[in-house]
Symmetry: C2
Subunit: 312 residues, 2 copies
């Protein structure tokens, strides 16, 4: 076609010089909210020592779209993807096209998210090795021209392990690698009892969560299935790093104070920043001064198998 | 439970007096982006002649959530719902709970959206009578505790017709009532050829769109299935009013200038505002002065059957 309009990014191959703007990108980082990804953009800027020209500040490149936010920090591109598979799916299609138009070489994609832990207390990290849907199927099932298409939801094992190995002894969080359940609904889809509707009881829910836990699923969220499937289909090295906001074996509601939740949401950023720094040949073991911004989680390092004793 | 935390709205039954804040709500209006819904909030404020106390302005009540935006204008509550079924689903669960906690009486829900027309040119309105998924199934299929649950995606026929009857002869848009296809993906899910991947050709696509058109489906978007199904399940009177951004029988890309698209996005607001004014006993036929903000669409009033002649 003559030009490609990346409608939801408010960019186009005809209206923008995408090679000049984006060819240096090596890392694409995405997470749910614009606010969190703006914070990450500023955080990674300090971490990799990237300096903006005097008199400039970061701009949300996609602000005209009112859909996603996008910040560029040297070789790192940061996006908000909204909530759920359709929202992250639209973004991925357009970002993959953007990488193609910009002639980027082997960019690595990260999702930095939040999730419910299954047997893991709030404030700890889960790196997904693969994703399953609400029926425990390991693929994204998508109607295309009226026929169901299946795409395996596999993530890069080496990348997952490399990330896990960047955990440090004095981190206030634990890091686990395992399977992730990705659902199309937050309430009934994740077996919560506190949605607007619910026609099952506590016992039904716990029996479902036990089944999920027995399948070695460590967490539940709402984007990884599509993120894994589209990246795998495109041959993109990709990882999903999520912080748990609660242990679903103990409840449904997210009742932790906002300030603590905000601190927890920095944990995936800390781990991914270490990986990016290592790839860029920067030292990663300098004690952080201005950006520790981590709170000690009294319940951290509660490992899965210990937490799930009541089920066994 | 002791209190109900509406996590994605940044509200709670313990932390807020929801009855005091929301009991007067009679109309709940939602659409994709925060920007558009803020515009709608200001538009409906003028339309119904609602006055804010001196020295005050509208506040995004959910700004602390960084997920959705929420504006209250007297009896009208306005939300952004993001993109896709999961995003609108989370919002609906929490808004339905909010209406319950606030003891609202029979609120009517509207989705004011954008869509691709099937045989309808850009800049015209489609009111959904029901929704189907990408397999043309007329229900929302949702895994709950590992089992597939089906909820019929039916909208209120009377409300759809009442809205249609508010169309005026000199409106720059046509209004049609029909079925809507709701998909989980914007590119392959809607048979586009311009996504990051595509393993079918123009002929396959047109054959699919013809099948869709033959099933009396007038448009495609990404939220109506869940919106219809959850409202119907909750016994809430609901309508989906979308403006077409293009005629999918003629292309995939949204290439209309931004200014025109912005004008078109006001058309659903104009129709819904008339309905709200009528319900509130206000006159609806006053020529609009400060808020006409409508552009004459040269292609308006191209009706479905005419446009689809090439298929018959």
């Amino acid at each position: 076609m003559e030009q490609d309009i990346l409608y939801h990014l408010a960019l186009g191959s005809g209206s923008h010089d995408l090679v000049e703007m984006f060819s240096e990108i090596r890392f694409v980082c995405m997470g749910g909210t614009p606010k969190r990804m703006e914070q990450f953009a500023n955080f990674i800027m300090d971490e990799i020592g990237y300096k903006l020209p005097a008199g400039t500040t970061l701009l949300d490149i996609s602000y005209r779209s009112y859909r996603y936010s996008m910040y560029k920090v040297g070789p790192v591109l940061c996006f908000s993807h909204g909530m759920g598979i359709p929202s992250v799916g639209i973004l991925l299609h357009e970002v993959i096209k953007l990488m193609y138009h910009a002639k980027c070489k082997d960019p690595i994609f990260f999702r930095l998210g939040t999730c419910g832990g299954i047997g893991i207390e709030g404030g700890n990290l889960v790196i997904s090795e693969s994703a399953v849907d609400g029926m425990l199927q390991p693929f994204l099932e998508l109607p295309v021209l009226g026929k169901l298409k299946r795409r395996p939801a596999i993530l890069d094992k080496q990348l997952a392990n490399d990330l896990k190995n960047l955990h440090m002894d004095d981190d206030p969080f634990s890091v686990s690698v395992g399977k992730t359940m990705c659902t199309y609904d937050f309430y009934e889809g994740q077996g919560r009892l506190d949605g607007a509707f619910c026609d099952y009881n506590e016992a039904d829910k716990l029996s479902f969560l036990k089944k999920v836990h027995d399948a070695n699923i460590l967490n539940m969220e709402m984007e990884s299935l599509c993120f894994a499937a589209l990246c795998y289909h495109a041959g993109i090295k990709a990882a999903v790093v999520c912080v748990t906001l609660l242990n679903r074996l103990h409840g449904d509601q997210v009742s932790t104070p906002k300030e603590t939740l905000n601190k927890w949401q920095e944990y995936p950023q800390i781990l991914v920043a270490r990986y990016i720094k290592k790839q860029l040949g920067l030292p990663i073991n300098i004690p952080q001064r201005e950006h520790p911004q981590v709170v000690k989680n009294p319940k951290h390092a509660q490992m899965v198998r210990q937490e799930s004793a009541s089920f066994e």
